[in-house]
């Protein structure tokens, strides 16, 4: 028998907040955290896009993560753990220290074999790989060049060599934890290990749809009765010392070139949009739970996940199919899974990247499928694009929008590409049923259907 699946815990860390409360408050205030790209990146390349959305400083010890752990885990795992701790606190699931040396916990009130972990990430521990690689490539070369410099007589040549040496950025040690930091599945693995969770543990890699796909698969596993609870979500960390991840997206002209005012650079669904605002990263984790299990422990319920759908464009590795035929098919499958019709959908948390192609395709689909008055916003208008984390962060926004009957604006939308009901002000909205959709490089499409709990 199919089970009902409810959201009972939320956690996030992203450019707009160290926790859900701070993030939601900043969302409703329409804030953005955007700035110029790091000063040293242009030493290595010329960039079309000059703006990004950096993460705020973070002290992981405040989330219960030790100093040693923070040196031995990639930021994607640290973010996953920070979000998971919050989500469990939010769900009222108490954890107790199991092994002091390992800093691992158990959750005595649940069957750990029925507790799964489903995480998504686009690039996993790429940042850690970049650090290891730069050490391996540059360490001996820098020593050699330093010795050469000592013997150089010609001042201009010596100055040039000195400049090259200064630009060689790399950690002084090859991190012996490089493998476990780089592997993409470390984010779900570390969460499972941290809390002794022994159910299904999977990491999904579907580019910008990863967080939505992970949440969807966790939903399906709880719905089928395979597990009783799951921590689901997505994480991303996209910084490297040379701006090479940024350059990858900049080169294919995916990034915004609205360089004058960083806060206005992300403008999904605006006629003058030029691309997405690159985010340093972030993450979100939700506790999803079988309804009777949640009721038995009087858990607060943020909302119910009632459907999930996915499809593939089967078309192009970096461009979506602008006919939107497979996204259309996916949305209808998800609504069928949820047992609702398009007329039931009150709110859409759009993928809304701010790229010309995505927003044109997505807005046409929304116009052709849903009610004229369906509310639409893009969380990326505030946060920029966190790639594999975005679907999970947007699932948090969708749950909070349903729970609080309000949502954030679709920022910087001065001249909409279509006459749709984009959120222009924070107000009371009768949001009962919502969808959150994500589309990723590779042609991955995924959508969650959520409803207020009744």
């Amino acid at each position: 028998m199919k089970k009902r699946v409810v959201v009972t815990g939320l956690g996030t860390f992203n450019a707009l907040g160290h926790n859900v409360e701070e993030f939601w408050s900043n969302c409703l205030a329409g804030k953005t955290r955007a700035s110029r790209i790091p000063d040293h990146w242009p030493l290595y390349s010329d960039f079309r896009s000059q703006v990004w959305s950096p993460l705020p400083d973070v002290d992981y010890s405040k989330y219960g993560i030790t100093r040693l752990e923070s040196k031995q885990m990639d930021p994607t795992s640290l973010i996953a753990l920070a979000c998971a701790f919050q989500a469990l606190d939010s769900a009222g699931l108490e954890y107790t220290l199991q092994n002091k040396r390992r800093n691992t916990f158990s959750i005595p009130s649940v069957d750990s074999a029925k507790f799964g972990v489903y995480m998504g990430t686009g690039v996993g521990g790429l940042s850690s790989f970049a650090s290891c690689f730069s050490h391996q490539m540059l360490n001996r070369q820098q020593d050699s060049l330093t010795r050469t410099l000592a013997d150089m007589k010609e001042p201009h040549a010596a100055e040039s060599v000195r400049e090259v040496l200064e630009r060689m950025r790399y950690p002084r040690r090859f991190n012996p934890f490089g493998v476990s930091m780089t592997m993409p599945n470390a984010c779900s693995g570390n969460v499972g290990i941290k809390f002794g969770l022994r159910g299904n543990n999977l990491t999904f890699c579907s580019a910008c749809a990863s967080g939505t796909v992970a949440t969807g698969y966790g939903f399906k596993a709880v719905k089928s009765g395979e597990i009783e609870l799951a921590l689901v979500g997505g994480v991303e960390y996209l910084y490297d010392d040379y701006g090479s991840v940024f350059l990858g997206f900049d080169t294919v002209k995916a990034l915004t070139t609205d360089n004058q005012e960083p806060d206005k650079a992300s403008r999904p669904f605006d006629k003058n949009r030029t691309g997405f605002l690159f985010s340093q990263g972030g993450g979100a984790v939700l506790v999803i739970e079988e309804l009777e299990h949640a009721k038995s422990r009087d858990a607060e319920i943020f909302g119910e996940i009632i459907g999930y759908g996915e499809s593939s464009d089967g078309y192009n590795i970096m461009m979506m199919d602008k006919s939107g035929v497979d996204i259309n098919r996916m949305i209808h499958q998800a609504m069928e899974d949820a047992g609702i019709s398009e007329a039931d959908v009150d709110y859409i948390n759009a993928h809304g990247t701010g790229t010309p192609l995505n927003d044109e395709t997505e807005s046409q689909l929304i116009e052709s499928i849903f009610r004229k008055d369906v509310l639409i916003n893009s969380t990326k208008s505030l946060l920029g694009h966190t790639l594999g984390a975005s679907g999970a962060i947007e699932a948090v926004v969708t749950a909070l929008s349903i729970k609080n009957k309000t949502t954030h604006i679709c920022k910087n939308l001065d001249d909409p590409i279509k006459d749709l009901n984009f959120v222009k002000k924070v107000d009371a909205y009768p949001i009962k049923t919502a969808i959150s959709q994500s589309f990723g490089f590779g042609g991955h499409n995924a959508v969650l259907v959520m409803r207020e709990y009744q």
Binding site: R67, L68, K71, Q72, R101, N103, R173, P176, F177
Partner: protein, 87 residues
């Protein structure tokens, strides 16, 4: 190059590292404490300990030298000797 420091400071720093890596009380540590037999060190603990020694003493320690560090006293003497050799 890192400054040379004396026995007391090396011993104190070694104990701080070991206490953090093995989540134990510094007061329970002595020069005779055996890193594997008494503290139950596993391979990743040893790797972590070496990383922390390198940071604490600002020196690179060759991986193969780990076999010389059976007790805390071995670690203290190793670092004292290593300081002399690399200064």
């Amino acid at each position: 190059m890192a400054e040379m420091i004396g026995f007391d400071e090396v011993f104190t720093k070694v104990k701080e590292v070991i206490a953090e890596v093995f989540s134990t009380d510094e007061k329970e540590l002595s020069l005779e404490t055996r890193i594997v037999d008494d503290l139950g060190a596993e391979s990743l603990d040893i790797v972590t300990m070496l990383m922390e020694f390198e940071d604490a003493f600002d020196r690179q320690i060759p991986d193969e030298d780990v076999e010389k560090l059976l007790t805390i006293g071995d670690a203290v003497n190793y670092i004292l000797n290593f300081q002399k050799e690399t200064s």
